[in-house]
Symmetry: none
Subunit: 213 residues, 2 copies
C-alpha cells in the first residue's frame, strides 16, 4: 500500500485528489495539509511514501519547502496549473521526482504516484519536452567538438587522461592503475602530442568540456 500526503491550500483540490487516489486499490491518502508548515509536519510525523505538493500556496510556497520535504524522506510530486520553466527548474533542483499539471487525468495521476513510489520519475509531457530540448541544446557544439578531439586517443590513454582531468598527479595515477609512473608519463605525453596540447591542464579542460567524469 502506497501512503500519500496531499498538500494544497484549497480544500476542494485536496478533496478531489483524495477521491482520485483512494479509488486506486494500492494507494491510500494518510494526511492532508494546507500550507508549507503543515506539509513539513506531516512529512516528518506520518513518513509517507509520496507527497503531492502544490506549487502556489499563500505564505511559503511549495517550491520553497520542497527541499525540506524531500530531505524528510518521501518522494515529492509537484502539482501546478502552469508549467513555467522557472517552476520546473526549481522543482527538479529541489529534488522533486515528479512534476504534473492539475489537468492530469485521474488514471495518470495514480500511475505517477506508483511510478515515483517505485523510485522512478514522472513528468507532464510538456515538461518532458522542454527538459529534453534544454538538454539537447545545452551546447552540444563544444561537447561534441571536445569528444571529436579526444577520439584519436586509445582506450588506455583516455583512461589515464581522465584521471589527469580529476587533478591527480602522475604518481597517484600510477598507484591507482598499478603501473609505473614512467608509463603514466608516456601515456600522457602521447596524449599531449595527439591532441596538440602543451599542458596537462589543457587535457583536463578537454575532458571537462567533453563531460567525461
Amino acid at each position: 500500500m502506497i501512503r500519500v500526503v496531499v498538500v494544497d491550500d484549497e480544500h476542494l483540490v485536496r478533496a478531489g485528489l483524495r477521491l482520485i487516489l483512494e479509488a486506486a486499490e494500492d494507494i491510500t491518502v494518510v494526511g492532508e495539509a494546507a500550507d508549507a508548515a503543515g506539509a513539513l509536519e506531516q512529512a516528518h510525523r506520518l513518513r509517507p511514501d509520496v507527497v503531492l505538493l502544490d506549487v502556489r500556496m499563500p505564505g511559503v510556497d511549495g517550491l520553497t519547502v520542497a527541499p525540506e520535504v524531500v530531505s524528510a524522506g518521501p518522494k515529492v510530486i509537484m502539482l501546478t496549473t502552469f508549467d513555467l520553466d522557472e517552476y520546473v527548474h526549481r522543482a527538479l533542483r529541489a529534488g522533486a521526482v515528479g512534476f504534473l499539471l492539475k489537468d492530469t487525468p485521474p488514471r495518470e495521476l495514480a500511475a505517477a504516484v506508483r511510478t515515483v513510489a517505485a523510485g522512478n520519475a514522472m513528468l507532464a509531457p510538456t515538461v518532458t519536452r522542454r527538459l529534453i530540448s534544454s538538454f539537447a541544446e545545452r551546447g552540444p557544439a563544444r561537447r561534441d567538438a571536445a569528444r571529436q578531439r579526444l577520439a584519436p586517443l586509445t582506450a588506455r590513454e583516455l583512461e589515464i587522461v581522465r584521471e589527469v582531468a580529476r587533478g591527480l598527479g602522475n604518481a597517484e595515477i600510477a598507484r591507482r592503475l598499478t603501473m609505473s609512473e614512467a608509463t603514466v608519463k608516456a601515456h600522457v605525453s602521447r596524449a599531449l602530442a595527439k591532441l596538440q596540447a602543451g599542458n596537462r591542464v589543457q587535457l583536463a579542460i578537454l575532458v571537462h568540456d567533453a563531460d567525461l567524469l
Copy 2:
C-alpha cells in the same frame, strides 16, 4: 488519425507493435522497415506523424539514423530493451522526443504515440529519473558551489588562476600580465593553499565549473 511507421529488424516485434497500435482507433500503422535505409526511405515517402525506431539493428543502428529520420519530419520514439545512458544521450541529442523500453504496456505505448504526435515528449520512467538527476547535478548548483570556493581569492589571484585554467604556463602568464614568473608562482601557490588544492589542474577544474572564462 495518427500515421505511424514501425522500424525493427525482427519482424515479430514489428508485428507485435502493429497489433498493439492498430488496436487504437486513432492510430494507424502505414509502414514498416527492418533497417536504417528502409526507415529513411519510408520516412521520406510516407511522411508519417510518428516513427518508432529500434536502437539495436544490424548494419546502421537506430541511433545513427535517428538524426536523418528526425530531419525528414516525423516525431521519433526510440525503442530499446536496455536504457543505457549512452543510448539515451545520443537519442535525445539526435532529436528524438520519445524513449521507451520494449516492456512498455500496450496502453502506455499508444498513449506515448498520441503524446508525441501532439508535440510533447514521453520517456520511460527510469529514463526520466536519470535525466532529472543529470539535470539537477548540472544546474547552477555546481557553479555556485565552485564560485563559493573561489571566493576567498583576491582579485589578482583570481585573475592569475583564470589564466591557469586556460592552460597557460607560468612563464606565459608572467609575460601577459607583465610580472616575474616567480610572482605568478607565488600567487598560484597561495591560491592552492586557500582552496586546499594540490595541483594547478584542480584550480582549472574549479574555474571551469564556476563558468569563468
